[in-house]
């Protein structure tokens, strides 16, 4: 209990990645593994868990009060950061990443932490394909994209690209996105016979982020998403995954 895990950082750059996702770059770099997260304090609003999308950045989609406030923050403003927390992805030489929407955020650092990566990325339309240009400019990265409306790449779900991508040939497989998308990815990898070595980055409501309060615990094993996760192998998940989660009060909510 001797670690002091709280910093106040200043936003140095705000980058509009897509119409719905903003990256905030701050004046402190964290020694974090891809897939680890921080608790972000927006003074006067709330504190929320966010994946580090770079050692000194988070990428935010405005969904609730906290992420809305974060998305409208300006250079020079201050936020609190606790962490990094969680386990992060286990990486290897050749990595397959499957990401949907802002779920690409925790997958972003994998590109610079492996020899070779194939990114399957999905979004509503071409403008919502997160980090598309940045990843395309990385010689270690190959991209296959899917859009809901067919404006770029495959017309349909990103998970439909899994079976076409020889998943068994990769040393590590990492998935993050909306939970229904991840459930579909689970089923696609299961059909390919490789699901038990697929790593899923799970999002749950959190209060402490440090493994104490229990608000992010998942059924059926009681694992804490903040500390035992947020990255879980498929065999560590169970009946809660893709079916329900718990809200701030601890009530079960479908979907």
């Amino acid at each position: 209990m001797s670690k002091l895990l709280s910093d106040i950082v200043t936003i140095q750059e705000v980058k509009q990645e897509t119409p719905s996702v903003t990256t905030l770059i701050f004046n402190h770099r964290y020694a974090a593994k891809p897939g680890q997260f921080v608790m972000v304090w927006i003074p006067g609003i709330d504190e929320v868990p966010m994946a580090l999308s770079a050692p000194d950045a988070i990428s935010v989609q405005a969904i609730g009060d906290a992420t809305m406030a974060l998305s409208s923050m300006k250079v020079g403003e201050k936020i609190g950061i606790r962490g990094p927390f969680g386990n992060g992805f286990s990486l290897a030489k050749r990595v397959l990443c499957v990401g949907g929407g802002v779920g690409l955020a925790p997958l972003r650092m994998i590109a610079s932490n492996c020899d070779e990566a194939l990114y399957l990325i999905g979004g509503r339309d071409q403008s919502e394909l997160l980090y598309l240009n940045e990843l395309m400019s990385n010689p270690a990265v190959t991209i296959k994209a899917a859009t809901d409306n067919g404006t770029y790449g495959h017309h349909g779900f990103v998970t439909e690209l899994i079976a076409l991508s020889d998943p068994d040939s990769f040393d590590a497989i990492c998935v993050c996105g909306p939970e229904m998308m991840m459930k579909n990815a689970y089923l696609a990898f299961e059909a390919c016979g490789v699901v038990n070595r697929v790593q899923f980055s799970i999002h749950r409501y959190m209060k402490c982020g440090a493994g104490v309060c229990g608000s992010c615990c998942m059924d059926p094993h009681g694992y804490r998403v903040c500390t035992d996760g947020p990255v879980f192998y498929a065999y560590e998940l169970g009946d809660e995954f893709g079916e329900y989660h718990r809200d701030a009060a601890g009530r079960r909510v479908k979907g």
Binding site: M1, L4, M39, G211, G222, G250
Partner: protein, 317 residues
């Protein structure tokens, strides 16, 4: 009698005594697997987490505090970690009656339901939902940061007496968790005892504050919170010591316990068992870790070691 009067198996490097491995242990009306209980508000939000902590060696578990209405709790930050302790202001988040479904796989397990309310009637109503599931109820009259609940009840002896009596009337053992944020904790403990409590739990968090200098505001969303962890262990120990002298029902020591020696010290002060909370921050295996250092090892004769009941209050010389 003082424990050193016994011929005890001790570690060669220390003067620690080891306890007999527990069998048929009942404290405050609750059958426990050992003397180490998961404290309320820690990893107790869902049934699967409570079951995991039991698998990881806890002798019993106390749930998240459940109240008359669902609450989402305070805006964050709810938690702040510092040297020697943790500051929190969760704000009693709970799913209220829906929590009953979390307990369906815990039938027969040593589960104590923590409950809170704003008056005796609310306490009794919440307790009535869990009569089929609870080994006992722990009344939260001690949360320091929720307006109208917790310590606002627990600093008033008449209200503590009335709430205890209202829940005890339902026929299950009632533990009352006390706040240290009072002038005389014994007056509150005696009120609970006279109201029919089966045990006292001491203590809940100590009212506390930290401020962010660069942001010039409290580090918690709620401002004031409750301090837990090793920083409050001496306060908890003092409260248990005082209560043991004043009251006759068992005391469950709670507050900053993170080692087998902390348990020994709590028992010498007067605790019949202990609750452990913030120490899961270091490791979720804390219960098994302490078990392996507190009791005589499996290889030894189970009758070796000292009966814990003979240690309790041993420091009252």
């Amino acid at each position: 009698m003082h424990p050193t009067q016994y011929n005890l198996p001790t570690d060669s490097n220390t003067s620690h005594f080891f306890l007999q491995r527990p069998s048929n242990l009942v404290i405050g009306g609750v059958p426990l697997r050992n003397h180490l209980i998961l404290a309320a508000g820690v990893l107790g939000t869902c049934g699967s987490s409570l079951a995991r902590i039991l698998r990881l060696g806890a002798g019993g578990v106390v749930t998240k505090s459940i109240g008359p209405e669902p609450r989402e709790g305070h805006a964050g930050p709810c938690f702040y970690q510092m040297e020697g302790g943790v500051l929190n202001a969760m704000g009693l988040p709970n799913p209220s009656k829906e929590f009953v479904q979390e307990l369906k796989d815990l039938t027969g397990e040593p589960v104590i339901i923590s409950i809170f309310g704003g008056n005796p009637g609310e306490f009794a109503e919440v307790a009535s939902w869990f009569l089929d599931r609870a080994c006992a109820f722990e009344l939260n009259v001690s949360c320091p940061h929720a307006e109208g609940y917790g310590a606002q009840i627990g600093s008033n002896p008449e209200l503590v007496h009335a709430c205890t009596r209202a829940v005890a009337a339902l026929g299950k053992p009632v533990w009352v968790k006390l706040t240290p944020n009072v002038t005389d904790i014994c007056a509150i403990g005696l009120a609970a005892e006279q109201g029919g409590a089966a045990a006292l739990v001491a203590i809940n968090t100590v009212k506390a504050l930290r401020i962010s200098i660069p942001l010039q505001r409290p580090v918690l969303g709620h401002g004031i919170g409750g301090l837990s962890g090793p920083a409050i262990f001496p306060i908890a120990l003092r409260c248990v010591f005082e209560l043991h002298a004043a009251c006759s029902i068992p005391i469950i020591g709670c507050g900053g316990i993170s080692s087998a020696d902390d348990v020994r010290e709590m028992m010498l002060a007067g605790a019949s068992a202990v609750e452990i909370g913030s120490a899961v921050l270091e490791s979720v295996t804390i219960f098994n870790d302490i078990v392996s250092e507190l009791y005589v090892s499996e290889e030894n004769d189970p009758d070796m070691g000292i009966d814990a009941a003979l240690i309790v209050g041993g420091a009252h010389v």
